[in-house]
């Protein structure tokens, strides 16, 4: 997994690539924790993410909760079909703003 970030004013885009699994999720979590401070609009760009397991879902849920707490907004972009199915199965499609 690799994360690049792009910050424009109060908008933060995290370009994640690779696998978000049990092994890599903690790193993702740390990154999110540090990066979202003071952010009003968070975009998780998943264009290059090809795998996600529940460990990754947990980080996404954590990010969503954090953004809710800071009265910001969050969206997940460019989700591939495999990951979309996982989102649907777990009800994430209802709580996330997927674009």
């Amino acid at each position: 997994m690799n994360i690049k970030q792009k910050k424009e004013d109060k908008k933060l885009t995290l370009l994640v690539s690779g696998r978000i699994d049990t092994t890599t999720a903690p790193e993702f979590l740390e990154h999110v924790k540090e990066a979202v401070v003071g952010v009003e609009e968070l975009v998780l760009d998943f264009a290059d993410v090809d795998y996600i397991s529940s460990a990754g879902l947990r980080v996404i849920l954590f990010a969503q909760k954090t953004m809710n707490a800071q009265s910001g907004s969050m969206s997940v972009a460019h989700v591939n079909n495999d990951i979309m199915e996982t989102f649907e199965l777990t009800g994430f499609t209802d709580i996330l703003n997927i674009i």
């Binding site: 092994t23 529940s54 809710n68 079909n81």
Partner: protein, 651 residues
């Protein structure tokens, strides 16, 4: 061999016969039209003009009829070829007769007139002889009397064909005056009609002796009298040459009344034969790779059927997870009965083998069962081998079949001199023995039917030596390549000759059983679970599962392993034991995950509510939920102080 049989075989063997005859007919048509063009109708006796018109018509009808029966010709039926030959000879009669009438009375062409007249007389005899053969064919007469009649007709045929040539020296049939005018020799010309009468009498006899349907008999007799009517007219008036036209018309009538019916029956029979071939083909496993999930062996087989429905078959099937059944067999006969026999044998062999009998027991039982009810005197040669995929030990039994050929990892393909039992299906008391061959990792086994070594070219058989040499040439290749390349060697040897037997072969490569392949033990370490996941993903990809399924299984396995790594052990040295395999027939993946950690049933945990809002949802609990919704079945056991989780998924 009887002359008509020889002739039929000759005609049937040569594919180019019909196109050639057709070419001749067209040639006659062109020749006749050209001759008429050159000569013109002026200065021609009206009666001549009438006869020529009739004959030209007959040639055109013959050509059209040949075109219309071309589809039937493709189905190789014998009488069609005789019939087309007959039409061609008829065309030749008509053409020569027309030419003769055209040159008649031209003094410069007196010599040509003579030659043409002689050919007309000879041609007529050939036509009659073929007409006789055609009638015996149509009536399906094969008795002794028919044979005698055919012999007489053949001898008389030789005599009467040569007789017109006497006219070169003595005017036995006709004279040509200096003015180039043809005139019959009144006292002896009738001799030429003897053969016609003879054949007519023969046909009548044959019709009465024949057991053919009454309709066939009536049609043949009725239309045979047409030429006689033509003759009768010509008897009184030379110049009205209606014989050949009448002969052609009657022929066309006989065909259209008689054989269009036959064609229909033939068509439906051929359709049934086609169905039988199809069913037979689909009974043989033919999707390759056959066991993509198995690394310990690779098997490939093919059957290249001869034109008819044959009786060869091969088979391979997993008896259980570690035993592979291999069959190569050849039924003695051909055609639909052999195909049915083959199917029955195939099912019996497979069923007994699946029950768990050893090869000799299988053959003994199948033999008894077939013998108890085999009135057709058919038999089948069978080689049956059961390979223990763990040990590489091949147990085999041979009932009169070709010897297997084996390649050891460090050697070349060699014939195994195995002990042969008697063929299956003839003697209920037959006893079969079995033998064992240990296949080392890298060994190859090749079994085949006699169609391989006995494939023929003009000079002889492909033979065992060529077979072995080809196999050795390709021995380092995959089973599929070995079979395909050997087949192409056999085919190029046969060349343009007809393949007269099925060519069937099966090749197996034993790659050795690797226990570790399907059993992994990994440390229960969240930082790197992929050694426990990747082999399963690889297996599924090799097996050819859909990407979506592979992805879901990958997530599910990770969730399970992550769950154990997180909760089962309190120390760092815990291990996770993973066993997995695919059950081929049902395409089901089985995964068994075992850990020695504290008792923990992941299935007992309540599912998270996936309808809650993000605020209300707790982080966690999703992993097992995903697994439950991905796998088809999950069971948890606590046994010997271990947590065992068994998962199933159709892949």
């Amino acid at each position: 061999m009887a002359i008509e049989t020889k002739l039929t075989i000759f005609l049937n063997k040569r594919k180019w016969i019909i196109p050639l005859l057709f070419g001749f007919m067209c040639f006659y048509l062109v020749l006749t039209i050209t001759a008429i063009e050159i000569k013109g109708f002026q200065n021609l006796d009206m009666l001549f003009g009438f006869s020529i018109g009739g004959e030209l018509c007959a040639i055109i009808v013959a050509i059209m009829l040949t075109i219309s029966i071309l589809p039937a010709y493709k189905r190789q039926s014998g009488y069609i070829r005789i019939f087309v030959t007959l039409l061609t000879i008829g065309c030749s009669c008509c053409c020569m007769d027309t030419l003769q009438m055209l040159v008649d009375g031209v003094p410069e062409l007196a010599a040509l007139n003579k030659v043409l007249s002689i050919f007309v007389f000879a041609n007529e005899i050939v036509f009659l002889f073929f007409f006789w053969l055609f009638v015996t064919y149509a009536l399906n007469s094969e008795g002794k009397s028919t044979r005698i009649l055919t012999t007489i007709a053949s001898l008389a045929f030789l005599g009467f064909t040569l007789l017109p040539f006497v006219n070169f020296f003595y005017p036995i049939y006709f004279t040509i005056s200096d003015a180039g005018v043809y005139a019959r020799n009144a006292s002896t010309w009738w001799i030429c009609r003897i053969y016609l009468v003879l054949i007519a009498i023969f046909v009548i006899i044959a019709v009465f002796l024949s057991k053919a349907p009454r309709k066939t008999k009536i049609i043949i007799l009725a239309f045979m009298f047409l030429p006689f009517t033509g003759l009768l007219i010509a008897r009184f008036r030379y110049g009205v040459s209606l014989l050949y036209t009448a002969m052609m018309i009657s022929l066309v009538m006989i065909y259209s009344f008689l054989f269009s019916d036959n064609e229909k029956t033939l068509y439906s029979t051929n359709k049934e034969l086609g169905l039988a071939t199809n069913i037979q083909k689909h009974m043989l496993p033919s999707i390759f790779p056959a066991f993509p999930g198995r690394k310990e062996f690779d098997v490939y087989a093919l059957m290249d059927p001869a034109k008819e429905v044959g009786g060869d078959f091969y088979d391979f099937f997993l008896i259980d997870d570690t035993h592979l059944g291999l069959v190569m067999a050849d039924v003695s006969d051909k055609g639909v009965p052999a195909a049915l026999f083959m199917m029955a044998s195939k099912i019996m062999v497979q069923n007994y083998a699946l029950i768990g009998y050893s090869p000799k027991e299988v053959l003994t039982k199948v033999n008894k069962q077939i013998c108890s009810n085999n009135q057709d005197e058919m038999f089948v040669t069978v080689w049956l081998g059961i390979l223990d995929l763990k040990t590489g030990i091949l147990t085999a039994s041979n009932a009169g079949h070709e010897r297997p050929i084996i390649k050891r990892p460090d050697g070349h393909f060699e014939v195994v001199n195995d002990k042969h039992g008697f063929v299956v299906g003839w003697l209920a008391e037959s006893v079969y023995s079995e033998y064992e061959i240990k296949l080392e990792k890298g060994s190859k086994l090749f079994v085949y039917t006699d169609g391989v070594p006995e494939a023929r070219d003009n000079n002889g058989q492909f033979g065992m030596e060529r077979t072995i040499n080809s196999l050795i040439k390709y021995e380092d290749l995959s089973p599929e390549e070995i079979c395909k390349y050997l087949l192409s060697d056999v085919n190029s040897f046969i060349g343009s000759n007809n393949q007269f037997d099925d060519i069937t072969m099966l090749c197996l490569e034993y790659r050795g059983y690797d226990e570790e392949e399907y059993h992994i033990i990994i440390p229960a370490n969240k930082n790197d679970l992929s050694p426990g996941i990747q082999p399963i993903v690889d297996l599924l990809e090799r097996f050819g599962s859909d990407h979506k399924i592979v992805y879901k299984v990958e997530v599910a396995v990770e969730e399970i392993l992550a769950n154990i790594a997180s909760y089962a052990y309190s120390t760092d040295d815990g291990e996770i034991d993973i066993k997995y395999h695919i059950e081929e027939p049902t395409r089901t993946l089985f995964i068994t995950v075992t850990d020695s950690g504290k008792p923990f049933d992941p299935l007992a945990k309540k599912d998270p509510d996936t309808t809650l809002s993000s605020e209300e949802r707790s982080i966690g609990g999703l992993g097992i939920f995903i697994v439950k919704n991905t796998m088809d079945d999950i069971k948890y056991l606590r046994k010997d102080n271990k947590n065992i989780l068994i998962m199933k998924k159709k892949v």
